[in-house]
């Protein structure tokens, strides 16, 4: 019986790691620009296919129907992760300039529609380039099941789990220690004051969208060996990740990470009890959290002066 619970915990943490990574990418733009990229899911899918293309090119083929078994071996996978991160980061600049900047800070929620629209454009472009097929991506450390006290887990799930934690720690340090992090927090606190203090506010905002894009691209490639790559894979993950971010507190990166992991574990344990309650429990939790703590479990309370 304990193996069953351990399995639920491990499975929950590994899915939660995916949610946490994407939840963090939501948080980055929210803390600096008070806007969200609602096409984060498409960014994740796009990143996965950029990474997959790199894996194939490095393996000397471009046949998506026959991905070689050793396509992720050696340094190919890290190369794919980096390329996807960089490219999706660049797409982050475009979404900021085209879909967010014209509307940010203005009354109304135009940026919601414009970011969703940007995602549709990105997905359509992806369909033109890569087609609608679902593509299997081999894991860099093989497909075998690793057994831990009777519970089974795959190598890539551990990789995602560990990298989510490492990224969280690094990001935390950047935000709290470095000049860039301080500038970002200053912009988040008040763009006007930050600007008066000589901080290039636009540049910091672009930087936030680039970082958010880098994370999405990175997440896409990391998740692809677990979920198989498709241009539709990102949406499901990003919805859950957004829920995790809301629960943890959108304006607290640590809280977002925690929220993502928590959601994965809750889903897994509710599945042990009554699987029909899995989705319900997630959203009941959101309503409860928002009722008691409107800014999330770890969110800082913001007071809008009227």
């Amino acid at each position: 019986m304990s193996a069953t619970y351990l399995q639920a915990l491990l499975s929950g943490l590994s899915v939660g790691g995916i949610y946490a990574l994407i939840a963090l990418s939501f948080s980055i733009t929210f803390t600096t620009t008070k806007t969200l990229n609602f096409s984060q899911g498409e960014f994740v899918s796009f990143g996965a296919f950029v990474g997959l293309s790199v894996l194939l090119l490095l393996s000397g083929t471009f046949d998506f129907n026959a991905v070689p078994a050793d396509a992720s071996a050696g340094l190919k996978f890290p190369a794919a992760v980096v390329t996807a991160g960089v490219l999706v980061g660049v797409v982050g600049i475009f979404i900021f300039l085209l879909a967010v900047r014209p509307f940010a800070g203005k009354p109304g929620m135009s940026w919601v529609m414009s970011t969703i629209g940007f995602g549709i454009i990105l997905q359509s472009l992806g369909l033109v380039v890569w087609g609608p097929a679902v593509v299997n991506v081999p894991a860099p450390f093989g497909e075998g099941v690793i057994r831990i006290f009777g519970a089974g887990v795959r190598s890539q799930e551990l990789v995602v789990l560990v990298s989510a934690i490492v990224i969280m720690l690094v990001f935390d340090q950047i935000m709290r220690r470095s000049l860039l992090g301080k500038a970002m927090r200053a912009v988040a606190f008040s763009p006007q004051v930050a600007s008066l203090m000589g901080i290039n506010v636009t540049l910091v905002m672009v930087g936030a969208f680039v970082m958010s894009g880098v994370l999405a691209g990175f997440a896409g490639v990391m998740v692809a060996p677990i979920s198989t790559a498709s241009l539709f894979m990102g949406l499901g993950f990003s919805l859950k990740a957004f829920a995790g971010a809301i629960i943890g507190g959108l304006n607290n990166p640590r809280g977002c990470i925690f929220g993502g992991f928590m959601l994965g574990v809750i889903e897994s344990f509710v599945g042990l009890w009554h699987s029909e309650w899995r989705e319900i429990s997630v959203f009941v939790l959101i309503i409860l959290v928002l009722a008691v703590r409107p800014d999330g479990l770890f969110g800082a309370r913001t007071v809008d002066k009227v």
Binding site: Q7, N65, V134, G152
Partner: protein
């Protein structure tokens, strides 16, 4: 010199009359409405278009239909019901097609099947397998929906017959994906199980995007389930098998035909994929007719596992052509009546059709045309064991 010029002029005149002649006898337009670009099932739609085009090419090469050439009008519905409804009106009212093949997804057929029934244009399904698609809009009403494809209900009937006949199946569990497809399948499973007196020990669900189903599987394992019947699409079925491997629990696995999809094979991996048993209309052990069409379309098939849809669409088109010849017109109601009382025999890609449809029978392919299938060394081959061989007609309850 002069003579030669005369000849040239005569030839030009002949060509002119010919073009004018063909322009006069208007083309018969055939419509396709289905997803060919936007979802994982788009590959099935693409295969359907290839098969349909092959059938139209063959008919045109043999002089067309009623002396008129056939042309194909393709509309992509991107898997979206509103788009699919719009396409339907566009094909019928603007393009004035005489028949439509489609759609790719069951949900879209259920969203618009009232339209061809109102406008009296025959539709032949080649992919969507939901049982209700070909039901009449009201009891006894004229019905313009036909199908040459897999159907969910007889599939489930076969799987339940297997469960009933298998002496090793003592504790049965059901699993389904929480989409319309999965829930429709679950309803069929529960109804047919009840006819056999089969009581599932547990029924578990998962979402279409889930990658880890270990929690639900651990519950089935605790309930002692030795035979699992699952209704879901290809990719989640693959993830289900990967989760089974994690907890090292492998009950006898009977699934929906989505397991024939390449997305299932890729997600599960070559070894695990071999554990699923399901039904299919064509296996990779093809008949000579099937091989012929396969050789024609396979260079342009995105995945060879989508070949059945090309064969279904080809046969659908040919059955329609036979009905038009019999009716002597492309008038919708008359062609429908001809389809419901087809004379003679048509040797199709899937089988030899003899009076395939009637006023009540809408399915070109029946349970007896389905093949027990499993993956073996990357190919979809016929599956046979003692239980399959022992199945009798009376075991199939619907």
């Amino acid at each position: 010199m002069h003579k030669r010029n005369m000849f040239k002029m005569a030839a030009a005149a002949a060509v002119l009359t010919l073009t004018a002649g063909t322009a006069f006898a208007q083309e018969i337009k055939i419509g396709f409405n289905g997803d060919i670009s936007a979802s994982p099932s788009a590959q099935s739609g693409q295969a359907g278009v290839l098969g349909l085009q092959a059938a139209i090419d063959d008919l045109n090469a043999a002089g067309g239909l009623l002396g008129r050439r056939l042309s194909l009008v393709v509309r992509d519905d991107l898997s979206q019901p509103p788009r699919s409804i719009q396409n339907m009106s566009d094909l019928i009212d603007n393009e004035r097609v005489s028949m439509i093949i489609g759609p790719t997804n069951s949900g879209n057929a259920l969203a618009w099947r009232h339209i061809p029934n109102q406008k009296r244009i025959p539709v032949i399904g080649f992919s969507g397998s939901a049982t209700d698609i070909t039901k009449p809009m009201a009891a006894g009403a004229d019905n313009y929906m036909f199908r040459v494809s897999m159907v969910d209900r007889p599939q489930v009937a076969a799987l339940m017959a297997y469960v009933k006949r298998n002496p090793a199946s003592k504790v049965v569990g059901f699993m389904f994906e929480t989409t319309g497809y999965g829930q429709g399948g679950l309803r069929d499973m529960q109804e047919i199980a009840a006819m056999h007196g089969i009581q599932p020990a547990a029924t578990e669900r998962f979402a279409v995007n889930d990658t880890d189903m270990t929690s639900q599987l651990n519950k089935l394992k605790a309930a002692g389930v030795d035979t699992l019947v699952v209704w879901a699409q290809g990719a989640p079925l693959g993830h289900l098998l990967r989760s089974m491997e994690k907890i090292n629990y492998f009950p006898r696995l009977l699934t929906s035909w989505a397991a024939d999809n390449k997305s299932f094979y890729d997600a599960a991996g070559p070894q695990l994929a071999e554990r699923a048993i399901f039904l299919r209309t064509v296996t990779d052990e093809r008949s000579a007719r099937q091989q012929q069409l396969f050789d024609r379309v396979s260079p342009r098939l995105a995945s060879t596992s989508s070949f059945p849809f090309a064969a279904h669409a080809y046969d659908g088109m040919m059955l329609y052509a036979a009905a038009v010849r019999q009716a002597g017109t492309i008038d919708g109601p008359k062609v429908r009546e001809a389809l419901e009382s087809l004379q003679g025999r048509y040797d199709g890609i899937m089988k030899a059709y003899e009076r395939p449809f009637s006023r009540t029978e809408r399915e070109g392919l029946l349970a007896s045309d389905f093949r027990w299938t499993h993956w073996k060394d990357g190919r979809l081959v016929n599956y046979g064991d003692d239980v399959v061989r022992s199945l009798r007609q009376e075991d199939f309850r619907m």
